[in-house]
Subunit: 295 residues, 2 copies
């Protein structure tokens, strides 16, 4: 440790972990140091670039608060979130695939009944969703909890609303929890999902601009589905035809999650009401993985 | 991009850099993504560990302000800072070696004359420093600027003082700038350097504790030396005999920078004054690298 130089530094740092009593933490930190140093060596990182990286991370930290998580955006846009999601959610082929969680989930969303309108005033074309939650053997899963959340037609989630931010609390819109019935079925009304840019007025947005990437995500609806005896499923349903399906800024698209959102002329809707504007329907079933079958 | 999975994600992210118009940025980001993903694959990073990493980085960001730079501490304690320093400061063998900059440099420190006491009230045993700044052919470097900074006997730099923080400004102590004379010589009085722990009441301190490492740095004095025609030298002088020379928390020790700080009984000091407490002397010369000879 008295002769630290370019060649000895990595082993010196790894050696300093000798007294780490948590074997998993030691493994993770050892690998982190090896890859961090290998990166700096590979590109021969300069002192000026290092200083810019420190400033960038500082900005990411300072813009992050309880409503905005710029580190998750950074992880998402570098594909790390999707990599971690995929390697931790290996499932049998007939299960619904997982995708990224994203930064806009909120715990404690309001509970709705099947058939309710969860939009709660969020702007967008009406959309009627229905489907079934099943296990891998086709068994219906009764009383599964679905968390649903999505942005409005302007691309904003309720938690991003300036009104909510000023008031210091969130008025939940286009966000809710509901349970499947005794045959595993669910249905609710919300709004049509639209493509939107991730928040790009901060350091991650400037990074994307500097590396020639757009900040858009294809239209999607978020689901988290939980039921006893099954692995929790966190996923999206994407909208077929969206122009950003091939360039999702967070790399979250999986073919099996792309679905037709069917347009309808004004008229009688699935809940028996009459709408004088166009509306949409979306049918999608989810298949959960029993915990026992996890590889 | 529609079939993102564990195997395809890395190439998808690298492919997204196609439109990056800055070749160096493209190279750095490509390598960063490769190593970041390789790390996550190597350790099979779990979703819970990923979430803890996001929380950790968020805490690092939130404790960082204009007086405390926790991201630099993180880089220092993971050996990244020293790696970047060494790979960017390759010099001929007879040059003074560089080491880490650290987070406590302040631009605009007060200017002193040779012979002045730069301690300005900082607590510690008096210490008289002298030396010469030369080039690689032995030529004295006149009018070179030396920035000097150090902690007090309690291990705190002036910028860490709670008084300075409350007032919103720094009273410079044990910190100053001075110039070599026409023969390249400098001398000043300050205080004896003592070992100190880096700030460890934040997330980096908790990380060190979790991985079984102490937060201590061996006693040292910081120098940044600048002269036209020469590469700027950023380095420390370490104190021989310090118990942390073999386990510097930021991996900054180089054998050539360890020096005897000679103790003296109370009596007449180099500036002709009489001290009734023990005092120290330190002699150290610096050799700068001419810019033309950079490899």
């Amino acid at each position: 440790m008295r002769n630290i130089n370019e060649d000895t530094i990595t082993q010196a740092v790894i050696g300093s972990l000798d007294k780490c009593e948590n074997p998993r933490l030691k493994q993770v930190m050892t690998s982190l140091v090896q890859h961090l140093h290998a990166f700096a060596r590979d590109v021969q990182l300069t002192e000026d670039e290092w200083a810019k990286a420190i400033s960038f991370l500082t900005e990411v930290g300072h813009i992050t608060d309880d409503k905005r998580q710029e580190f998750i955006l950074l992880s998402d846009t570098l594909g790390l979130s999707m990599l971690v999601t995929t390697q931790n959610n290996k499932k049998p082929a007939n299960c619904t695939e997982a995708t990224v969680f994203g930064p806009f989930f909120v715990d404690g969303a309001p509970v709705y009944q099947n058939g309710d309108d969860i939009a709660n005033g969020a702007s967008g074309a009406p959309c009627y969703f229905k489907g079934q939650v099943r296990g891998t053997n086709g068994e219906p899963i009764a009383n599964a909890w679905l968390d649903v959340w999505q942005s409005d037609e302007d691309g904003f989630y309720d938690v991003q609303s300036s009104v909510a931010r000023i008031a210091g609390e969130t008025e939940f819109r286009a966000r809710g929890k509901l349970q499947t019935d005794d045959q595993g079925f669910f249905n609710f009304r919300s709004i049509l999902a639209e493509a939107y840019p991730i928040p790009h007025d901060g350091p991650v947005g400037r990074m994307l601009n500097a590396i020639g990437r757009h900040p858009w995500r294809p239209a999607h609806l978020h689901f988290m589905i939980q039921a006893p005896g099954y692995e929790t499923l966190i996923t999206h349903v994407f909208r077929e035809g969206d122009q950003y399906l091939d360039s999702d800024v967070v790399f979250g698209v999986r073919s099996s999650l792309i679905v037709d959102w069917v347009p309808h002329e004004p008229g009688i809707t699935p809940d028996g009401k009459v709408l004088d504007v166009p509306w949409f329907t979306l049918d999608y079933d989810f298949v959960l993985n029993p915990i026992a079958s996890k590889p």
